[in-house]
């Protein structure tokens, strides 16, 4: 990275001058770097969003559980009371409460609509509980519930929490893999463009060698040019990508997973890393291509 910065800072006008402009490879490199950076912003947003999601699900669900009481109507109050008493004396429980009819209706609204007569349905009683940081002994609680309230079933969410967290973590991994692939594709594209420019300037390079130019001097002209193009293209693509991400709907508005795609707080700084990374990739790819070609010229 230091070499890249030194290269950009240095006065390379003299070096640039000896190599003629390379025509279409110039805008092609800028455009490709911009497109790759745009995609990288989305891949980064995906990785960060799924990371947050995995953490949130993992954290929130790990500390909550539900007890469902399915019993005949006449036994429901008795069993509910029994469960609440058991919970009151169980270590590791921070909070618990029986859900009232309004809360039950809110849970069922998405499936049955807002006018469902909940009171006429034989619904189980739900009790939500929150564990302390130390957690609760699930097996012990199950045994006590079975003894005190036979209709009570403890659901600690493990069954569906694990696949959700696993899915979110895989999505985060895919996002990171996408970033690596985008970086590789950028390197490949810049290498091809640099090779085209080097081949088009074969005669210029031969003349420069014959008048005493060192490999580093000749490579510098191309490396500087392609590094700056990679940097400027990636900066453009990153800005456009960040604007596009900022314009995505808010997570709370629709509540869906994809609407949560974006950056939060200091997370907005992460995309700023893309242009220097693209410049570093362009620097390494062009330098390798230039030195490889120069080895074939005495």
């Amino acid at each position: 990275m230091r070499a890249v910065l030194a290269l950009i800072r240095a006065d390379g006008r003299g070096v640039d001058r000896v190599v003629p402009p390379t025509g279409h490879t110039a805008w092609l490199t800028v455009l490709s770097a911009a497109a790759m950076a745009f995609l990288a912003v989305f891949a980064l947003a995906l990785a960060l969003a799924t990371g947050r999601l995995a953490d949130r699900w993992s954290d929130a669900l790990a500390r909550s559980a539900t007890i469902r009481i399915s019993a005949p109507v006449d036994q429901m109050p008795t069993q509910t009371r029994a469960v609440l008493e058991v919970l009151a004396t169980t270590p590791g429980i921070a909070d618990y409460r029986a859900l009232d009819e309004d809360e039950m209706r809110a849970l069922l609204d998405p499936w049955f609509g807002p006018d469902l007569p909940v009171e006429t349905l034989p619904l189980p009683q739900l009790i939500a509980l929150t564990e302390t940081a130390e957690g609760v002994d699930g097996e012990g609680l199950r045994l006590r519930l079975a003894a005190e309230a036979p209709g009570a079933v403890l659901d600690d969410h493990t069954r569906w929490r694990r696949p959700l967290v696993s899915a979110a973590e895989r999505l985060r991994f895919l996002g990171l893999i996408s970033l690596v692939l985008i970086g590789g594709a950028t390197a490949g594209m810049i290498t091809l463009a640099a090779q085209a420019a080097l081949a088009a300037n074969g005669q210029v390079i031969r003349v420069l060698r014959l008048v005493g130019a060192r490999d580093s001097y000749i490579a510098r002209a191309f490396v500087r040019r392609f590094t700056l193009r990679g940097l400027s293209g990636a900066a453009l693509g990153t800005v456009l990508g960040m604007i596009a991400v900022a314009l995505l709907p808010e997570a709370d508005a629709a509540g869906g997973f994809l609407t949560g795609l974006g950056f939060e707080g200091a997370g907005w700084l992460w995309p700023m890393m893309i242009p220097p990374m693209a410049a570093a990739v362009a620097f390494a790819a062009t330098r390798a291509a230039a030195l490889r070609m120069l080895r074939g010229i005495r």
């Binding site: 001058r17 014959l210 008048v211 005493g212 490999d215 005495r298």
Partner: protein, 223 residues
């Protein structure tokens, strides 16, 4: 200065020449002649390390070019001025920029007044801002000569420098090369123009070498 010891060069399995030994002493003036295809250009390329010999040794100031790294060879070329047969300019740069190119790539300071003096010496002051494709054959050769000497090299190699020039222009260029030799530069000119060699021998003490039958020989007294 430059020494070739039992040098051979092969292309595609066949020997272009072999067992060539040559020593260019400081301040000497040599002509290299021979029929087309005999290997004059190849021999010159060996002298400035654009080619490596198939066998034998080429050394510059006592150092074998085979042991030199790429940066060493680049530095070596700062001490050897070469006038190529086809001149080889960068067409997007002006004549002045092309002449100054060895200084530019060596990151040495450029004195504009000295550059204009040099262009004046080769008669190209008026063409300083022209692009190489706008020059005539003679002007290109003189510009190439100016570029070859701007680093004040120890040795000057010229490959058919008068190949595309009329006789007057050839003599003018020859005079410049003789002037350089009188300034102490070692000069080696590859040419098949025997009249040029005869004209030079009237001005300077020159040895004439000939490549014939794949060997290097000292040319006869007729030259």
């Amino acid at each position: 200065m430059i020494e070739l010891q039992n040098v051979a060069m092969s292309y595609g399995g066949g020997d272009l020449f072999s067992e060539i030994s040559l020593k260019l002493a400081p301040g000497s003036f040599h002509f290299l002649t021979g029929p087309s295809g005999a290997g004059k250009t190849t021999l010159l390329k060996l002298c400035y390390a654009e080619l490596m010999p198939s066998a034998g040794h080429v050394s510059f100031m006592g150092r074998d070019v085979r042991t030199m790294g790429r940066d060493d060879i680049a530095a070596l070329r700062g001490r050897i001025g070469v006038v190529h047969q086809d001149c080889q300019f960068l067409d997007h740069l002006s004549v002045a920029e092309n002449v100054a190119l060895p200084l530019t790539v060596a990151r040495r300071p450029l004195d504009a007044r000295e550059l204009m003096e040099l262009l004046g010496w080769v008669g190209l002051k008026a063409q300083a801002d022209a692009l190489p494709p706008q020059l005539s054959g003679g002007e290109r050769q003189r510009a190439a000569l100016a570029r070859a000497v701007i680093m004040s090299p120890d040795v000057l190699l010229a490959d058919e420098p008068t190949g595309n020039l009329d006789w007057d222009m050839s003599l003018r260029l020859l005079t410049l090369l003789v002037e350089l030799n009188r300034m102490g530069k070692t000069v080696l000119i590859a040419t098949h123009d025997l009249n040029l060699i005869r004209a030079a021998k009237q001005q300077v003490s020159a040895r004439v070498l000939r490549i014939a039958n794949r060997r290097l020989q000292l040319a006869g007294a007729d030259l």
